[in-house]
Amino acid sequence: MKAKDIMEQVKDYLSPDDTIKNAVNKMRVLKRDDGIVGVKGMIVLDNEGNLVGMVSVKDILKAIIPFYMTMTELGEFTWEGMLAEMTKKVADKKVAEIMMKDVITVSEDAPLMECADLIVKHNLQRVPVLNKEKKVVGIIYVRDLYNAIVRVLLDDKEVQNL
C-alpha cells in the first residue's frame, strides 16, 4: 500500500487571502470522508493550485494569544473575556499571515512507513500528498494510518463485531 491508497480527497481548501473568520467558517462546515462535519486544519492553495501553507486550530490560537504572553509568565494576569476580545481583534487577519509555511508533504507513491515516520517525528495531524507535478492530490490523516493498522491486526469479521 502507498500513500495514494489510504489518502482522503481534498474537498475544500483555504486561500492565502482568506480572513481568519472565513477560514474558521470553512473548517466548521467541511465534511470529512467518514461523514463527520468540521475539521481542525486545512491546506492553503494559491491561485495556481500550488500548496503554500497549512492552517490548524493551533495556528489560529497562536494568532489570538498576544505575543507578550508567550514572552513572559503572564498567564495569571488575564481577565474575563480576554480571549473573546483578542479573537475579535484578529478576525480580519489574513490566512497568509498565520499559516504554517514549511508544510511537510509526501509523494503519492510514498510507502506507508514513510508517512507514519513523518507523522510521529514532526508531531503532525495531517500530511498533504503530492503528485509528480507537485499538486496536492489528497491528505493523509493520523486516523487513516490508524485504520491501516487496524486492518493489519484485525480481520474483517473482528472489525465488524467491534
Binding site: P66, Y68, M69, T72, E76, F77, W79
Partner: protein, 456 residues
Amino acid sequence: MTHEAAAASQPFVMDATFWTATTIFLISYVVIISEKVHKTVVAVFAASLMLVLKILSQYEAFHVEELGVDWNVIFLLIGMMTIINLMRPTGFFEYIAIKSAKAGKGDPMRIMTIFAIVTAVLSALLDNVTTVLLLAPVTLLIADALEVDPIPFLIVEALASNIGGTATLIGDPPNIMIASKAKLNFMDFIYNLTPIVIVLMVVLLVIIKIVFGKKLKTREELKQRIMQMNEKEAIKDPLMLKKSLFVLGLVLVGFVFHGTLELQPATVALFGAGLLLLLSNTHEPHHYLAEIEWPTIFFFIGLFILVGGVVKVGLIKLMSLKMLALTQGNLLATSMIVMWFSAIASAIVDNIPYVATMNPLIIDMAKQMWPQETGLALLRHPDLMPIWWSLALGACLGGNGSPIGASANVIVVGMAEKAGKKISFMRFVAYGFPIMLLTVFISMIYVWLRYYVFSF
C-alpha cells in the same frame, strides 16, 4: 634639541603601521554603523587583524591596561548579567510591574508615571536592556487591559531607562567604561550624576503629564481588570527570590563601599554572581551562564583591542591634539563640546564604541594639559572631572535622541512591532529628540554651575 627629545615631542609617526591601524579602525566603525555585518562580528574580526598584523601584540591586548581589553568592564557585565539571569525566573520583575500598575489604581496617567519611575530606578541599579525587556511585556498587557495605546508608555519607558541608567556607575555601559578608565568609584557617580538625574526625571514626569495628562483616559470597569490581578501569583520561587534579593542587596552595599574597601566593582559583581550561583543549589549553571549576553561581551572585547591598536599607533593622540587646538585648553569649552558632541554622536551611533574611543582621547588630552601629573593624580585631576561627567551625561542622555540611539530603544521598538504597533523612526524622534535636547541642555547648565561657577 637632541634626536631623542625631538622624537619624544613628535606625537606620532605616520608610517605604514599607523595607516594600517587607522584604516582597520575607520572601516570597522563604518561597517558597524551601516549594520551590514553584525557589530560583534566586525569588532572581533577587526581586533584579530590588529593582532595578526602585529599592530598590537597579544600581550598588550590581554594584559596592558592602557592598550588592551578592560577586564573590569567585562567581568562587571558578566557578574551583573549572571545575577539577573538567576533572578529572572523568580517572577520578581513581573511582581514589581503588576504591583506598580495596581499602585496606579488602574489609571493610565498614574501608571505611566509610576512605570517611568520604576524603570528609571531599576535601570540605575541593573541595566537598561534587562529593565525594558522585563517591563515592556507587562506594559503591553496593561495597555490591552485598559484599551489604551501602548506606544506612549513604551517610549516613555525607554526614555526613563536611559535617563535612570545615567545615575550610577553600573546603570549604563558608558558609565561602566568611564569609571574603569578614569578610576572613578560608585559613590563618585552618586555624588556627581544622581542629583542631576533626579532633576531630569522630575522634568520628564512633568512633560509627560503635560503631553498625555488629558489624552490618557480609560473606563472605570477596565480599571477593575488591573485591580483584580493578584501580583503575588507572579512569584514562582519565593525562596530563590529571598536569596536573590539578599545577594542583590549585598552587591549594592558592596558597590557603595567598594572605594573604601579597595575592591573593584567587577570583584563585587563577581562575588554576587558566585554567591547566588552557590545559594541557588543549581546543578545546571550552564543554563544561567548561557543566557549571558555573549555577543555584547565579545563586542566589548573586540572594541577594546581595536581601540588599543589606534591608541598605540598614535591616532587617538592626534585626535586629542586636534581637540586641544579647537578648545585652546579652555576647560569649560572642552566640557561643553564633549557633552554636546557625545549627545549627538550617541543619538546617531552606538554609544559603546564612541565612549571606547573617547576615553583614551580624554586621557591623552589630560596628559598634554598636565604633563607633570601621572596615574590617579592625572586621571582624577580636579579640572578633568567635569569633562568625565560631561562625557557620561552626553553619551547616556544622547541615547534618547533616536530609536537606534540606545539598546533600550531598539528593544522597545522591536517589541511594539511584534505586538502589531509599529513605532516609526520619526514617531520615536518626535518624543525622544526634544527630551534629549532638553535633558542635555539642563545637564549643561548643571555642569557649568556646579563645576565652573560654584566649583563644589
